[in-house]
């Protein structure tokens, strides 16, 4: 069985060097965004989704597990953070902690169930679990069902940074994104990441080498879910609402799409993919449901002819790892 991703290359000093340069370019670009006059709300949203896609990519790209339910972490963390900020009146940093903790807890519980099966079954189970959560959130009072949680106060981060100022908010979100991104980068290049990759390539061999592969997969799942939750908590400050859209399966599909477009198993692919998809939704918004059709078409094209994704193809062309 051919694996989902065959574009990653062995981690070598040169690869890491390439990646650091790319990281520097990306950071520099993102730092100057507010000066360019681009609608900051759009970039902040894209950053949240980029982090989300990176977290998702950790699981599929390096663990070989396709989750079709990652929206549940995004939505759960969003709801909990929103509730903490609005109802409990917590400060922004504590609101984020609450959301992330909730996502982590959810990841532990669902992870234990989901990693019992692999491949397509894993995808279907995560999808079903997230749908279960969707219905729970539809009915529990604290989420306000269809209405969602609205008008969430942005507050002052650490008591100093006024998050209702778009420029300050932008840099806070950017800092959050970079933090999450580097954490994932570090994980991939750690011994833990190496074991994950070996499980993806050949689980039987990893088992015979004495690795308890289920534990590794569970841990990868928990890290991925927790970081996805972090993205959800950040998004609350941007959108100032938390709603069912973020837990719906269409959102899970969009996460898969972003990563697929950018390149499964590439470090920067999910970031590029997230920006591409969010920009597309933004600029094609006038075409109604044709956006959905185009997204579907991108799925089909990617799967049939373009399985490495944008970054994957570039990396493949230059024989580099990105």
């Amino acid at each position: 069985m051919a694996t989902m991703t065959d574009t990653t290359m062995p981690t070598t000093p040169r690869a890491i060097h390439d990646e650091m340069i790319a990281f520097g370019i990306m950071t520099a670009l993102l730092l100057v965004v507010p000066l360019t006059g681009v609608y900051p709300f759009f970039v902040m949203q894209a950053l949240c989704f980029a982090l989300l896609a990176c977290a998702f990519n950790l699981l599929i790209g390096y663990g070989g597990l396709l989750s079709f339910g990652h929206a549940m972490f995004l939505g759960t963390a969003g709801y909990v953070s929103a509730h903490a900020l609005k109802v409990w009146g917590l400060s922004p940093e504590l609101g984020i902690v609450a959301g992330v903790a909730a996502a982590a807890g959810l990841a532990v519980i669902t992870g234990v169930v989901a990693i019992r099966r692999q491949g397509i079954y894993f995808a279907m189970i995560t999808l079903a679990l997230s749908q279960l959560l969707y219905f729970i959130y539809l009915q529990t009072p604290f989420t306000h069902g269809e209405d969602g949680i609205q008008g969430i106060p942005q507050g002052y981060l650490f008591g100093i940074f006024n998050l209702s100022n778009p420029i300050i908010l932008y840099y806070v979100i950017l800092a959050g994104f970079l933090f999450g991104f580097l954490l994932i980068f570090r994980t991939i290049n750690s011994p833990f990441g190496e074991v994950l990759k070996s499980i993806r390539e050949n689980e039987q061999r990893a088992i015979s080498l004495g690795y308890k592969t289920d534990q590794y997969k569970l841990l990868a799942y928990i890290i991925s879910g927790t970081l996805a939750g972090f993205a959800g908590s950040l998004k609350v400050f941007v959108a100032q609402n938390a709603s069912l859209t973020d837990v719906h399966w269409t959102m899970s599909g969009e996460i898969v799409l972003m990563t697929l477009v950018g390149g499964l198993g590439t470090v920067f692919g999910p970031v590029v993919g997230a920006f591409v998809i969010i920009a597309m939704q933004q600029y094609l918004a006038g075409f109604g449901q044709w956006v959905t059709v185009i997204q579907g078409a991108i799925f089909v094209i990617c799967v049939l002819t373009f399985r490495r994704g944008v970054i994957g193809e570039i990396a493949h062309y230059f024989r580099r790892s990105l």
């Binding site: 099966r117 491949g119 189970i125 079903a128 059709v293 089909v300």
Partner: protein, 287 residues
Amino acid sequence: MQALYAQLLVGLINGSFYALLSLGLAVIFGMLNIINFAHGAVYMMGAFVAYFLLNVAGIGYWPALIIAPIVVGIFGMILERTMLQWLSGLDHLYGLLLTFGLALIIQGVFQNYFGSSGLPYSIPDELKGGMNLGFMFLPIYRGWVVVFSLIVCLLTWYLIERTRLGAYLRAATENPTLVRAFGVNVPRMITLTYGLGVGLAALAGVLSAPINQVRPLMGADLIIVVFAVVVIGGMGSIMGSIITGFTLGVVEGLTKYFYPEASNTVVFVLMVLVLLVKPSGLTGRAA
């Protein structure tokens, strides 16, 4: 008590749709090793074909029961020929992603033209009205749906498990190379199988049109429940998916009576329980 029986009937009707859809998924999975994410979309197409037949060509419910599955089945076979067959040899997840993309395209196109609210499709005159059975009020159409789906499910089971064609099918699943050596055209068989699975979904769509109305997103949420049904039942056996489908419908109906708040989630909760106890599903073999 009357309400209990009535809710059980509603459950059985949903169970019929679960059974028809999970049966189709199982048939396709057996042959193509693909989880057909577009199953909900073709179910919706079945309903739309019936709607078009009635409103454009004036062709009613009964012919639609035959025409719609054939039309949609052919559409499915074209998809298989032009796209799905290129995925053999790749990770099965690519099949899931491709069919997910197809589902988005199909649903999006219909949403563009028909919005997201329902179009009415009325019950055929022969099946209008209801009977008072004493212990409950039975709308005739709904009774018909249950009986008819059961018959179709059993016929499909017979076709695959008890006929020569079915024997080829099963053999080709186990060992395609060997079956090809016997002179059977395996790729054509795969195409036909996909058409059959998709046709079953379209049939379910026609049956559902008078109950659920014709809506572009009618299959989108349903398919996820059906996935859970498939995980619970395991995909190993045809009869397994039929029985699981109907049973879960009934369980849902019971939940609607005893604890309505949980009726949306009960199937998913059961899925979790089954996974904890028997990860391969009730009738499935280890994947």
